[in-house]
Symmetry: C2
Subunit: 326 residues, 2 copies
């Protein structure tokens, strides 16, 4: 039985139609150095990782992004073959794609940005094709907050769920625009350092309270190899990261997480807190695959059995049986 | 119903006798600075925290340590009142107790040692009173490996379970003595940086494999605010730390963890892997209380209801329901 079938069988016995996802974010070239090796220009970008990870759960993914004429057409066909529609992917033939070069420290949780060439991204005006209207789930990958809010505003109906990923750069350079975006969304995903920066609180519990007052109803704090926390009202859920023998390249792990998260939510079409917890386990699963090889290499070669086995690893990792006696 | 009763009711319907614990470690004065405040000379030491935490689960705790004439007698009576026997606590009247002064960084996971006055500890020769013989559970708090192995050798029968805590200082200064100790024990508890140092491996999975080859059958890697990992054969279990609004003083958290762990194991008298997982949750619970106030202040004021409530918080924190369909 396929993962899509088993999700539907377990959680949604009668799904009338497949929910649609719109993914906004970069599609780009990356050059990556880690303590264990380096890669030349390889395919990267937040929307690439998000779409690939989500494509294991949902086959109605609609990409909004921009690339230059240097971007390989076969890569776009590969995305299409995985159920990712690219009508909203602009190709500016006489410009270059966004390029990022980074170098990871030994702990793999911190990195230095060596080069950021915006190229096509500098003048990016996101287009929402007619076929993308009425989207159910909107995943806003890390980008200028203004582009993120523009997409929300260009959708005729508000999606059921809007998830936004951002980073410290926008907190520092466009705090007002980010504040506007925060008021429009349902779920915010950031890392622990960013949660501290955004809130001015060191305690993540206090940070979460402050951030949840600024708009989003759900906050996911990603802690890399230390797992992820989901805050909602007075609840907190913790999903560990799987202890891995090899972490080869953390690039895209947060985006693969977001892709697994939104893909699972869209396919189960259930945005309850309980289902968000499950979605975080699936997101963590996709992130754990992502880091095993450079770039998107591992993310395009997983089988459905691999995913089910690894979700079981997560279950085993945290499962314990304490029966409290009154 | 008390915690002791409920443990026995849940896990050991017919406990013939209460298992005994011998705790070896420092009983000392600490002076602590954190970003949130500082304390003058207060009661500290690994064996103090271990014994206090364990005393919520087991009332047959036998302390082996040494203090100077400056150590307050009422503190010893307080320990006795909590079920901690002190026949093995030597008092060297004309010397001073061990003193440690440390300062925590903002992240509360790293600290600088400012002063270490060994005092009575310099010549410490651990005595095992006759009444401590036939102990069931041995908890060796962080100390010179030679003192730790001396206690093992002075016990006529090997305990059911020997748990050893150590630190980077002994890895660097007495690696041979530590290697001997590792071969004699069942469970090793160290933090993540120490696991990396001891094994020479950055990946904690690889580090654990190497360390388990050196003697212990179980390895607990403590990651502070990021939780703890239990490795055993090819299994790994992860217990999160509870996200707290306030972390006031991390001193003794690792020892409170060890105390809750050994106390729970001794009282349930079950050293299976499944029960070790539960013991780690109880250990994490005691650590979460410990950090809420300076020194041992919180650890002596918990109620049994507090503990049960907090264990429930741990259950809620990681509980999710994924039913994989074949």
């Amino acid at each position: 039985m396929s993962i899509l079938d088993s999700i539907q069988k377990t959680f949604q016995p009668q799904v009338p139609k497949t929910s649609s996802i719109v993914v906004v974010g970069t599609v780009a070239f990356d050059s990556i150095e880690t303590p264990f090796g380096k890669s030349d220009r390889i395919i990267g970008g937040a929307a690439t990782y998000i779409s690939l990870a989500a494509s294991y759960f949902n086959k109605n993914i609609n990409l909004i992004s921009v690339v230059g004429g240097d971007f390989p057409k076969e890569q776009i066909l590969l995305m299409n073959a995985r159920g990712v529609k690219t009508e909203g992917l602009q190709i500016i033939e006489d410009e270059k794609s966004f390029f990022w070069k980074g170098s990871y420290h030994l702990d793999m949780n911190t990195r230095d940005t060596l080069i950021t060439d915006l190229n096509v991204l500098a003048g990016f005006d996101p287009k929402v094709p007619e076929s993308y209207q009425d989207c159910d789930y909107l995943m806003l990958g890390n980008l200028t907050p203004t582009i993120q809010t523009t997409v929300i505003n260009r959708l005729r109906h508000r999606p059921k769920l809007i998830v936004l990923d951002t980073m410290n750069f926008w907190m520092e350079h466009t705090p007002k625009e980010l504040a506007v975006a925060l008021e429009m969304i349902d779920v915010l995903t950031i890392n622990d350092a960013e949660a501290r920066e955004l809130s001015g609180e060191y305690s993540l519990v206090k940070a979460a309270k402050k951030i949840l007052e600024r708009g989003p109803r759900y906050l996911i704090i990603k802690k890399g190899e230390h797992g992820a926390l989901l805050f909602h009202e007075n609840n907190v859920f913790f999903a560990p990261a799987l202890p891995l023998e090899e972490v080869f390249d953390p690039t895209g792990a947060g985006d693969a997480f977001a892709g697994g998260f939104i893909g699972y939510l869209a396919q189960t079409d259930d945005i309850s807190y309980e289902n968000m917890k499950r979605a975080i386990i699936y997101g963590s699963t996709m992130a754990s695959f992502c880091v095993e090889k450079f770039g998107t290499e591992r993310l395009v070669s997983i089988t459905e059995d691999d995913i089910e086995e690894r979700v079981q690893d997560f279950v085993d990792l945290v499962q314990f049986d304490i029966s409290l006696v009154e």
